[in-house]
């Protein structure tokens, strides 16, 4: 007699979930796919206009690169990250009918949502990088393979956050209202629209502990400057995300068996 069979991660099911999510969110209609590129593009244009034309923002370390590429390289990954978390937050509640009728590892649902969002935005990211190159920005394509591990780490980070938030969302429905402003706050405190050198020293110090700031800095280094900066801090970030991801799984499992009671 084997003790209670653990609900296992089901790879085929997970793939199906991701594909379904992509179809549902992005490919249901042609405009859905167009908006995937258009929406961040418009936002990018707005930010570029506001910051470079109205605020006359200067980028001391990237004068010759220009504001738009500087912003775009960081903006798309952030969009993927933020959208993934916001979408995944409601994913458990949205799939209540499935959870109430079939036994499976529920964690697959938020994870599939995050994965689908990342895949789609990565496609958009690649398109944008090509466009930047065509518009005359000198992209360091040789470093593209190194972008992948950075994005994977970011994906793991988004997955971990989503495991926390989607589990809490089942019990505390208000989270859906609280989360978007929190993400906006995070967006503005991460040096995406500006360079961290603009920040007062105290806040600059704090920003060093923002994982997203680390991601953004690495992506810019790799793609715009062709630099690789791996130091003890990178190791700390990797370690932190690993522990955080493990904790998120533990946290999720504590609640997942009880979701059905609260859906």
């Amino acid at each position: 007699m084997i003790p209670e069979k653990k609900k296992q991660f089901n790879w085929v099911f997970f793939q199906n979930l991701v594909v379904r999510q992509i179809r549902q969110d992005y490919l249901e209609n042609i405009t859905g796919f167009a908006w995937l590129i258009l929406q961040p593009l418009i936002l990018l244009a707005v930010y570029a206009f506001v910051f470079s034309t109205i605020f006359q923002a200067r980028l001391p370390e990237a004068e010759e690169i220009g504001f738009v590429p500087y912003l775009a390289v960081a903006f798309w990954p952030w969009t993927a990250f933020s959208e993934a978390i916001l979408r995944a937050n409601n994913s458990i509640t949205a799939n209540g009918s499935l959870i109430g009728k079939v036994a499976f590892a529920t964690a697959q649902i938020p994870l599939a949502t995050v994965t689908a969002t990342f895949i789609m935005h990565l496609i958009g990211y690649l398109a944008v990088l090509v466009v930047l190159q065509l518009m005359g920005t000198d992209m360091h394509w040789a470093y593209l393979p190194l972008v992948l591990p950075v994005m994977v780490l970011m994906w793991i980070f988004a997955c971990a956050i989503s495991l926390f938030t989607s589990a809490i969302q089942v019990f505390v429905r208000d989270l859906a209202q609280i989360l978007p402003p929190l993400m906006t706050f995070w967006f503005f405190t991460t040096p995406i629209l500006y360079s961290s050198s603009h920040l007062p020293p105290v806040i600059q110090k704090l920003t060093e502990w923002n994982p997203m700031a680390w991601f953004v800095a690495r992506l810019r280094e790799l793609l715009l400057f062709g630099e690789v900066n791996v130091d003890y801090k990178s190791l700390l970030i990797v370690l932190f995300i690993a522990i955080f991801a493990w904790a998120s799984f533990r946290f999720f499992h504590r609640f997942s068996g009880h979701f059905e009671d609260f859906l």
């Binding site: 007699m1 084997i2 003790p3 209670e4 069979k5 609900k7 089901n10 085929v12 099911f13 793939q15 199906n16 979930l17 379904r20 549902q24 009918s97 499935l98 959870i99 109430g100 009728k101 079939v102 036994a103 499976f104 809490i168 019990f171 505390v172 429905r173 208000d174 504590r254 609640f255 068996g257 009880h258 059905e260 009671d261 609260f262």
Partner: protein, 393 residues
């Protein structure tokens, strides 16, 4: 013996979840590893072993906890107390739509469901034709499931299950939704599945289906096991309990309307009959019926008289006010109908004369009574009734 599922001391308490404060409290207690204990207790200390090759029917009234028990068994919900041990590939079909997503096509849902049940894409491709053939819903397979009828959803759901070849099949009251031929198809499949050593857990309100498919039955009542054993004794005990409850219910209704304050049948008599044995009539005799009804408000009530075969098949019935008949007033509150069924054409056999009393508006039935009688005669005609006929040249 090879135990597929063992349930030990399982109780389930559904926590209170309506107020956000209650949800928050539940969240905090779960966070600290405690199980929220306040709420509705649906299952109470259930023990059960399901052995390979067994077929078990779970019966019980609505709200007894059958569905919750199945959900605990399949691992959809965690029991509040106790342990569930599963050692089998389970295919479950709980409630309608069994995890289908309404916005996606039948085909996509089949893919999802098959992968959930552990089929690889390759296996699914091999068995897809069988699934589609079993479901037999034609081109609808490419339509979103939300456009399906409930019967079609069940067909598709069951078709996927047949392709997954589970050790243990768990099904809720879903088969009842399919049409006659599909139900038969499912029952045939289940029988074959059982013959090949499959194990079945079936929840049903149809004792016929339970007796047909199951060796054992578990009667769940108020969250606990009322009876467990061979299928026939348990289902019979369950039916008997229902009948008793219905009788009580009726008595309560009668009392609720107050003693003597409803249209009560005082007397139903067949001329020629006595109390000892059912009166006998030869075919072609007249049947004289006397029906007395008590009217609480002294208005003339409506009477219904009918003839029913001993097995319950109705043969004929007539309502007094449809024919404009007003009963004779015997005394205050007492009315009498006198009906003659001329030249009865009933074929020999046992019958019941059945009468109902209704209010003067003919809207509500208040009381009923039956007396049995027999029709005698020598004839080889078949059926219940002799239709006037003649053989022509």
């Amino acid at each position: 013996m090879d135990t597929l599922v063992r349930i030990e001391g399982v109780s389930k308490v559904y926590p209170r979840v309506h107020k956000s404060r209650e949800r928050l409290q539940a969240f905090v207690s779960l966070l600290f590893g405690r199980t929220p204990e306040h709420g509705a207790r649906v299952l109470n200390n259930i023990n059960l072993d399901v052995v390979r090759g067994q077929s078990l029917g779970i019966i019980g009234e609505n709200g007894a906890g059958k569905s919750t028990l199945l959900k605990v068994l399949t691992g959809v919900i965690q029991p509040t107390y106790g342990r569930v041990m599963v050692h089998a590939k389970i295919a479950a079909m709980l409630e309608l739509g069994a995890g289908f997503q309404p916005d996606f096509s039948g085909m996509e849902n089949v893919r999802m469901k098959a992968s959930l049940m552990g089929l690889t894409n390759l296996e699914l491709d091999e068995r897809l034709d069988d699934i589609l053939a079993f479901a037999d819903i034609g081109e609808y397979i490419h339509e979103p499931v939300k456009h399906y009828s409930s019967g079609m959803v069940v067909r598709l759901g069951f078709a996927v299950i047949t392709a997954c070849r589970p050790d243990l099949l768990i099904t809720d009251e879903v088969l009842a939704v399919g049409d006659e031929s599909f139900q038969k198809k499912c029952i045939r499949w289940i029988q074959q599945f059982l013959e090949q050593g499959g194990t079945l857990l079936l929840v049903s309100h149809s004792m016929y289906v339970v007796q047909k498919l199951c060796q054992k039955a578990l009667w769940v009542h108020a969250g606990g096991v009322e009876q467990y054993g061979e299928v026939f004794p348990v289902t019979q005990a369950y039916l008997a309990w229902h009948e008793k409850r219905n009788a009580k219910e009726k008595e309560r209704q009668v009392r609720a309307t107050g003693d003597g304050t409803y249209y009560r049948i005082e007397k139903l008599k067949l001329a020629g009959g006595n109390d000892e044995e059912p009166p006998k009539f030869a075919m072609g005799e007249d049947l004289d019926v006397e029906l007395q009804i008590y009217s609480p408000d002294n208005r003339p009530p409506v009477g219904v008289v009918g003839v029913v075969r001993a097995d319950g098949t109705p043969v004929y019935g007539v309502v007094s006010d449809n024919e404009g008949v007003i009963p004779v007033k015997l005394a205050d509150h007492y009315y009498s109908f006198h009906l003659r069924l001329n030249d009865i054409a009933l074929l020999p056999g046992s019958y019941n004369l059945s009468a109902h009393s209704m209010d003067p508006e003919g809207l509500r039935v208040f009381d009923n009574r039956q007396v049995s009688f027999m029709v005698t005669g020598n004839t080889k005609e078949a059926g219940y009734i002799r239709l006037p006929h003649e053989w022509l040249d």
